[in-house]
């Protein structure tokens, strides 16, 4: 080429330019078709999964028969000042508040934050607890999240009066709850998270139930 050695070569040599533009345009088209096509074909299925997921999670922490509304849709996103909005599903019976499923993220897990869904009745009792997301060590800390986890089972039926707040922690810290052997940190984090959820809900339940629903059924 005549420009060889004459300073910076152009980014694209003149003869190839049209071809290069066509190639990049084709690439862009492929990218749009691939992503757009996959999105179009999957979005409804994925939304269904998400809905069903929320229903199962709620059913795990709120006893069926307690409510007659649809807590999955009766959702408010609370700003508790922690940055992330806190989703709260409200359960009502004959229009009157009976319970809520509160999501809490506790930062003090052994290997990172643990996300909990806590079912709490309006009289402040824990109805059920589920670990929704965690990164605890498989085989050790992860045991707190298991379906048959004794830590989660031990929390059901408790309230801020039972045990008193100071004893709302693992036995090692002078509390009332059994930790899972070898997973004291994870157990403590879960119990602390549930306590904070109950504290928050009992303090704010009137405001929470007065709020308009954040997701209009779409």
């Amino acid at each position: 080429m005549s420009t060889l050695g004459a300073g910076q070569p152009p980014i694209l040599p003149e003869p190839g330019r049209a071809r290069a533009v066509a190639g990049l345009a084709a690439l862009l088209l492929v990218v749009v078709l691939v992503v757009g096509g996959a999105w179009r074909n999957t979005r409804h299925v994925i939304a269904d999964h998400a809905d069903r997921g929320v229903l199962t999670e709620i059913a795990a922490v709120l006893p069926a028969g307690l409510y007659d509304n649809s807590p999955a849709r009766d959702l408010v996103q609370l700003d508790t000042g922690g940055g992330q909005p806190v989703p709260v599903h409200r359960a009502r019976r004959n229009g009157r508040p009976v319970a809520a499923a509160v999501t809490v993220v506790t930062p003090d897990g052994y290997a990172g934050p643990i996300r909990l869904l806590v079912g709490i009745s309006t009289d402040g009792r824990v109805l059920g607890v589920r670990v929704q997301a965690h990164t605890e060590t498989p085989g050790i800390g992860a045991a707190v999240a298991a379906d048959d986890s004794p830590v989660l089972a031990g929390l059901v039926g408790r309230s801020l009066a039972d045990p008193p707040e100071a004893r709302w922690t693992v036995r090692n810290d002078g509390g009332e709850f059994d930790a899972i052997a070898g997973a004291t940190v994870s157990s403590r984090a879960v119990i602390g998270g549930v306590r904070r959820a109950v504290q928050y809900f009992t303090t704010h339940k009137d405001e929470i139930f007065a709020l308009p629903t954040a997701v209009a059924g779409q």
């Binding site: 290069a20 084709a26 690439l27 299925v45 994925i46």
Partner: protein, 188 residues
């Protein structure tokens, strides 16, 4: 050590072309993903699908893309394919997606796929690129699911097998076995 990694031969079968063992390029996703047979297999198959489609598309497009833009262009293409696989996975294998969903987007960071695109697909016909994707993808799937199966079996008895470090140790053991085997074949 000589290998056929850069000449694009796909004739030696999965053992020889298993990128995790030969190139170590695919090492990164091994650690997190090979926790059990099912997760290893799922991610292996997802990688296989991305590898095959990216190889075929690269074979078709490479001729018209200026060589300096090739790698970023391939990356965009691979990222798009991974996004599509992620969505399909989420829609059709939801139970498994629950466990491995976090790692599906990480397939983009798997150097193996870009390496195959650059080394083979960009210079060969589409059917040759597809064959290459199938062989490498199958090797990778075999390695991930095998490692997952071994870790799953060992985990109850040997804690380290369940931890991410266990994947490293097992991979090292596999490499050592392979080296010993190759060595044994060369010097009688």
């Amino acid at each position: 050590m000589t290998n056929d990694r850069d000449t694009g031969k796909a004739t030696h079968g999965p053992w020889w072309s298993t990128s995790g063992l030969v190139g170590l390029a695919g090492l990164f996703p091994l650690l997190a993903v090979s926790r059990s047979f099912a997760t290893g297999l799922a991610l292996g198959i997802a990688s296989l699908a991305v590898l095959c489609t990216s190889n075929v598309l690269v074979a078709g497009l490479a001729g018209s893309i200026p060589s300096r833009l090739r790698v970023p262009a391939f990356l965009v293409l691979i990222a798009a394919l991974v996004t599509a696989v992620d969505l399909l996975f989420q829609a059709h294998w939801f139970a498994l997606y629950d466990q491995v969903g976090l790692f599906v987007p990480l397939i983009v960071t798997n150097g193996l796929i870009v390496a195959r695109a650059e080394a083979v697909a960009a210079h060969r016909g589409w059917w040759r690129a597809l064959l290459d994707g199938l062989v490498y993808g199958a090797g990778f799937t075999l390695l991930l699911s095998g490692l997952g199966a071994v870790r799953e079996l060992l985990a109850p008895a040997l804690l380290v097998a369940a931890l991410p470090a266990g994947a490293l140790f097992l991979l090292a053991a596999l490499l050592a076995l392979r080296q010993a085997w190759l060595h044994g074949r060369r010097s009688p």
